[in-house]
């Protein structure tokens, strides 16, 4: 009995295994375009940048191999240290500001109330404007004479005479933060909204019966159940902030007393103003390392890996 059944089974096994193998090749075929794109536009440039970073690489003339000198030079580069600390400061403030606003907005547009899609659209609208365009727009808005903010501030008696918002570090920084929050908050809101909506309403109701207050439900249910979404939003926000460039370049050109030079801005200056392409490359690689490290730390803090 078992013999008669076993024989055809074994025979049927071979074609099946072959089918599986060809399916694996098919799988590879499907991801090939992505692999090719990533290789051409990420892996190769990164490898080339690493290669450049070991050279003294002027725009014109022969690059010369200098080993780790570019990396060693960084440690005594006070302007790089300043750029790093400014970027860190900006990242912390911007991320806090974005989340502080995006979370309430997401909670607000989560409930099905009247006009909610209009609100969602309005909050999301600035996201579709490019950052450089937004910066230009805000340069105009913040203009002393022809802008919008100065006259308003004066009309309400906040400032005595026309104030140049971009003239002092604190004002300029605040203006940029407001601009970035206006620009980014809708995006973060949408991400957080998807997280909020993925929580089954049964759970919230069970918690209501269990006597959890609004805050307790947020603290003990919403937040932990949104961990993955939070991780995503946080990493996108932090990465975006660490890579900030347009707003400083366009709105303040490095800011009052050159105090608004972000890391990317500094790399830009080194590479395309001072034409030290090798040093710029080394700085880029370090920045990449910093970003990877930050993301790993955030993923670890939010424990995205462990399954429920």
């Amino acid at each position: 009995m078992s013999m008669t059944i076993a024989t055809p089974l074994a025979a049927a096994d071979k074609p099946r295994r072959r089918a599986r193998k060809s399916r694996q090749w098919q799988g590879l075929l499907y991801i090939a375009p992505a692999i090719i794109l990533v290789t051409i536009f990420f892996v190769i440039p990164v490898l080339f940048t690493v290669w450049m970073s070991f050279h003294n690489w002027p725009l014109l003339g022969q690059p010369s191999w200098i080993g780790l000198d570019n990396y060693i030079r960084m440690f005594s580069d006070t302007r790089f240290a300043a750029a790093l600390s400014f970027t860190a400061y900006y990242t912390v403030i911007a991320t806090i500001a974005i989340f502080a606003l995006a979370f309430p907005l997401a909670l607000f547009v989560q409930n099905e109330r009247r006009g909610v899609s209009a609100y969602r659209t309005i909050f999301f609208l600035p996201v579709v404007v490019g950052l450089a365009t937004a910066s230009l727009l805000w340069v105009w808005l913040a203009n002393v004479d022809s802008g919008l903010f100065s006259p308003i501030l004066r009309a309400f008696g906040v400032t005595g005479r026309s104030a140049n918002l971009l003239a002092t570090f604190n004002n300029a920084f605040a203006t940029i933060i407001v601009m970035v929050v206006w620009k980014i908050v809708g995006f973060t809101m949408i991400i957080l909204l998807t997280g909020l909506q993925s929580i089954p309403s049964d759970l919230i109701e069970a918690a209501r019966i269990d006597g959890a207050s609004r805050w307790q439900r947020f603290r003990f249910l919403t937040l932990p159940l949104m961990r993955r979404t939070l991780a995503l939003a946080l990493i996108l926000s932090v990465t975006g902030s660490v890579l900030a460039f347009d707003q400083f370049y366009i709105m303040t050109s490095g800011g009052p007393q050159n105090r608004m030079i972000s890391v990317v801005y500094y790399i830009f200056n080194q590479s395309f103003v001072s034409f030290q392409l090798g040093y710029g490359s080394a700085l880029s690689i370090v920045l990449l390392g910093i970003l990877v490290a930050l993301s790993v730390v955030q993923l670890w803090l939010l424990r995205v890996g462990d399954e429920k």
Binding site: D202, E205, A206, A207, I209, K308
Partner: protein, 358 residues
């Protein structure tokens, strides 16, 4: 039954926007009673239960639990606990934390949380599972935990919304028995929503049959089965469904399909069109009963202990017969069947049952 509490609904209504879903429900539930809501899908069972729980606002009317008006109270302050069809366990917490969550929210001392969680776990035999997450449990175990979470709250009234419908047939039976045992042990008032006839009949002290947001009948399982108020209840309770046959009233009985059956009373003015109801289990094969008629069997279903015969009367009206004897009856056979006229119900054109003049 120390902590059993009654419950009352007075003219409870619910509208979602302009659609009325519940149309004025009046119901009294005795302390310690097990009441089951049944009704077709969309009739408002869940909505009514959620209104009792406080998860859905009451548009109009009053709900009181233990003599206390709870209509506008928060769910947590009504003395209720609810078991959801989806279990609604907190996925990121261990079973222990799930059970203790409500107590933790109420700032109950740790030691007491421990003892109450342990007690509930013992009743439901889920002690070995306390450290696991809900995702690591089977459906039946999850439902136990969900019931355990309700027990820990020590509620006056338990609310169940189709708690067993996600379980397979076998588990459903054992959990049903479990819930019956729990009711006996705790003696609480329980309100239970279900689609399942067997659950309703076996668990209920009283069944509430709902249709389109109105109560059609309230009664013990025996009452709704044997004395249905109307054609809807008669058709809804019992499986397979009661047979409904078109007929007319004659002097001292009814006539249908060319046969006159004496009922011993005249249900209405002779000549009135009526619907005659006979349950499949009350028809027997052979001419043993008083009222006999001949049918043709179109096909049959064999279920082991019983056989359902799908038959037609001479005038083409269909009839289902539950045949419990061993003899196998195949398709396309002609049969004589009979029933006890006392088992025949008569319904008027409006659907209400015409009572026997006794």
């Amino acid at each position: 039954m120390a902590n059993a509490t009654g419950m009352a609904l007075r003219q409870v209504r619910k509208s979602f926007g302009s659609t009325d879903v519940i149309h004025g429900i009046d119901l009294d539930v005795q302390a310690g009673e097990f009441v089951v809501f049944v009704g077709p899908s969309g009739c408002g069972k869940s909505t009514l239960l959620r209104m009792i729980a406080g998860l859905e606002e009451v548009t109009d009317g009053e709900i009181s639990i233990g003599g206390r008006d709870v209509t506008d109270l928060d769910p947590s302050q009504r003395g209720i606990a609810m078991v959801f069809q989806s279990y609604a366990l907190y996925p990121h917490m261990s079973v222990r934390d799930n059970l203790g969550f409500g107590l933790k929210m109420a700032n109950t001392p740790k030691a007491e949380v421990e003892t109450r969680v342990a007690a509930a776990a013992k009743i439901l035999k889920i002690e070995p599972l306390l450290e696991r997450r809900p995702g690591q449990l089977s459906g039946g175990q999850r439902q136990r935990v969900a019931i355990g979470r309700a027990i820990v709250r020590k509620p006056d009234v338990f609310l169940f919304d189709e708690p067993l419908s996600n379980l397979d047939a076998e588990l459903r039976v054992s959990m049903r028995i479990e819930i019956a045992r729990l009711h006996k042990e705790l003696g609480n008032t329980m309100i239970y929503v279900t689609h399942d006839q067997t659950e309703a009949m076996t668990l209920a002290d009283r069944i509430v049959v709902l249709r389109d947001g109105k109560i059609e009948q309230v009664g013990t399982p025996r009452e709704v089965y044997e004395n249905p108020n109307n054609i809807f209840v008669a058709g809804f309770i019992g499986s397979p469904k009661m047979n409904f046959i078109e007929g007319v009233v004659v002097d001292g009985g009814v006539a249908f399909s060319g046969r006159t059956i004496g009922l011993g009373y005249t249900p209405a003015e002779p000549g009135t069109a009526v619907t005659i109801g006979i349950r499949p289990e009350h028809i027997e094969v052979g001419d043993g009963g008083e009222a006999t008629f001949s049918v043709g069997v179109d096909f049959s279903e064999y279920l082991g202990g019983t056989q359902y015969l799908y038959a037609t009367l001479p005038d083409g009206q269909s009839l289902i017969i539950e045949h419990r004897e061993n003899s196998d009856i195949g398709r396309d056979t002609s049969l004589t069947v009979s029933c006890d006229p006392g088992r025949i119900e008569v319904f008027s054109a409006t659907g209400s049952r015409i009572g026997r003049q006794r």
